[in-house]
Symmetry: C2
């Protein structure tokens, strides 16, 4: 957490007043928690950001429909182990069934129940087990149940991922908390990323939506699990209003403070995803400066951050900057190769497009032995900048993906 304005808190999504949660094992997965429930004290304004993949899982379609109808949120049910994607009509019926079972178990309207699934694509849900799990979870809902819920949404994640902060907004203590899951870092296009965020600030749905879009753009869209392309990616954010006071709105004195608190939580969660990327041994920050535009900077940063050849050099801790140069040149941005500078950490390795020699490479290698380091690229062309977080690509990535279904 940077900045003194935010107090870091424990408890994840349940650090927010008006939120209870639970996680249980119902038997979708063999021996790990696989069903989470989140319940608001009252129907809450809700915002959502979803995958843009043309192949959308049934629960994504369910949630999008509820948002289009302008519904509030009273409960979220999430299962892991099965994505309920590419499951046809049965899948749509199962998603609705999950909403019905949840609504019945917690006592809220079906239309205020949001559904998420993550896991293997193409298998129908074991709905009987899920029905049992929903009842069990409903009975366990607690005001400190966030960590338990965060554990139940994991798939190939090795650690649960939560974040929460408190911040003073217009004289009121406001909380923002959340949890996320996601791995499969090397293949941004197919990892399911789920994120659930809550705040007790008072907000209208439209304003919350605007805030969420910006926060996701500055966090989950800056890692190589970028939300826009899996079948199931979903980020939901709801506002319980328990902090009281008038609604926060654009232009209000506390608007910026609150927005940065939300960004802080989403960024913390996003970086936790990268750090736990499948088989990852490195968390690498790719910074691009001096680009013709922010879009160009982002395109180059992603080009470098997604290149398997660059990623294997991160794993090897080898300052093979030529692969970085090649990835920059391949990005489609009209760069001037002879103006490019590259640093690894604080060590310059390329100046004016040319390498600075073996001593520089050796010093850079030392930086690359760290678990976290920065690759800083300056194109020296304009003012466009971007920051992206990525992982390395090593043997464990292959192992994780080869053994995923077995």
């Amino acid at each position: 957490m940077n900045g003194e304005r935010f107090s870091e808190l424990q408890g994840g999504i349940t650090a927010v007043r008006g939120v209870r949660a639970a996680g249980v094992h119902c038997g979708i997965k063999k021996a790990k928690p696989d069903l989470a429930l989140i319940r608001t004290a009252e129907p809450s304004p809700v915002a959502g950001v979803f995958t843009t993949n043309r192949v959308k899982a049934a629960p994504v379609l369910w949630c999008q429909k509820r948002l289009q109808e302008g519904r509030r949120l009273s409960a979220i049910v999430v299962n892991s182990g099965n994505a309920n994607a590419c499951t046809g009509l049965q899948g749509l019926q199962d998603a609705e069934k999950m909403a019905q079972l949840t609504a019945a178990a917690v006592g809220c309207p079906v239309e205020e129940t949001f559904v998420c699934s993550t896991g293997i694509i193409g298998r129908t849900l074991p709905i009987d087990r899920i029905a049992w799990g929903i009842r069990e979870a409903a009975a366990r809902l607690r005001e400190d149940g966030g960590p338990e819920a965060a554990r139940a949404i994991m798939t190939t994640d090795t650690v649960p991922k939560e974040a929460a902060v408190a911040v003073d907004v217009e004289g009121r203590r406001v909380h923002v908390g959340g949890m996320t899951k996601g791995a499969g870092m090397i293949a941004p296009r197919m990892a399911t990323m789920l994120g659930f965020l809550a705040t007790d600030a008072v907000l209208q749905a439209a304003d919350l939506q605007a805030l969420l879009v910006e926060a996701v753009d500055r966090s989950f869209h800056c890692i190589t699990v970028d939300g826009d392309t899996s079948t199931n990616d979903t980020v939901l954010c709801f506002a319980t209003g328990k902090a009281g006071g008038p609604p926060l709105h654009p232009g209000a004195p506390g608007w910026t403070t609150f927005r940065e608190a939300l960004v802080e939580v989403t960024r913390t969660l996003a970086k936790k995803i990268v750090a736990d990327g499948e088989g990852a041994t490195k968390l690498v920050t790719v910074q691009v400066a001096g680009a013709p535009s922010p879009e160009a900077a982002r395109r180059i940063a992603f080009g470098v951050a997604n290149s398997p050849l660059v990623k294997t050099t991160f794993f090897a801790q080898d300052c093979n900057w030529g692969r970085i140069m090649a990835a920059i040149g391949a990005s489609g941005v009209d760069v001037d190769p002879e103006a490019i500078d590259i640093r690894i950490g604080e060590v310059p390795v390329v100046s004016g497009g040319v390498g600075l020699g073996s001593e520089a490479e050796e010093a850079a290698h030392k930086v690359m032995t760290l678990r976290e380091f920065v690759v800083a690229i300056d194109l020296n062309l304009g003012e466009g900048a971007a920051v992206i977080w990525t992982t390395d690509l090593g043997y464990e990535y292959v192992r994780a993906n080869v053994t995923y279904r077995s």
Copy 2:
């Protein structure tokens, strides 16, 4: 080779009349051949296709200049082990020096000497060793030197890659031969692909250029080493004219026959690259049919063929078709998920966007245990089709890239 019109030949590029070649070891690499020379009997019309990467190696700039000047080709010098890329002014001087040394050794104009380099980026060439190697190779030039030259241009390739055919064109026996190198299949954007093609047909440079562009589009651009994005990718094709007769031109009776012979040789070479992809254990043909357009089909085929998650399932021989569906959906093409059919070999595994069950998956798994198999995707939307060749992604890919510079 398909079709009876083409007779497959040995000898690679030297199967073509008017071409001599040689390969030597000059010490850029430790113990393997690393310098090749190709020499034409007379200055020959030449065509070229180059990387569109903004970061271009010095030898690429040299070759492009010669083509822009409308030069003919008398010699090609190629070194492996060092890409002469990101080497600044020194690199440009070294590329020119290679041309000068070659011109002097074989007795031809510097401007008719083409230069290619492949290997590690960012290191200056050991020009003294190369000078020695050029003289040595010039003394070894032979009419059966193709295989030796093909071996000297290898980097991480495990086998040399050659192809040659004879075909009757307008009553004359015409030969087309060539060689190529390239691996690093998983990372199309940075593998260096070099291709050298020769024919003894009589052709003008402009017609040869048109033919080469089409042939590359139907071969090297259909594998995941697609020529448009490394720093060094180069395909050169020259016509010695030794078959005699009037120049072949568009509309001539033999034009199509000759074009298909050239495509045949380039496709054979392209598939050899895929089959020898770094760490590859599979050669997978991704066929897309029923797309709104050929471009859409190609985009989807590449999306599937480049997806690390799909590639790891090829390695695992696991019919995880959900990842294929997700890659299709992530391609940006406006598909109808519920119209998609997928076959593995002859086994239908997805119909109307929904999986056909575990028996189908088991049958598909059996197909995937083969070294070569087809993934056939039908979008059932239009007439657009594309075929792409790709590899799997396994442990050996990581090993090949981690140990590349050590």
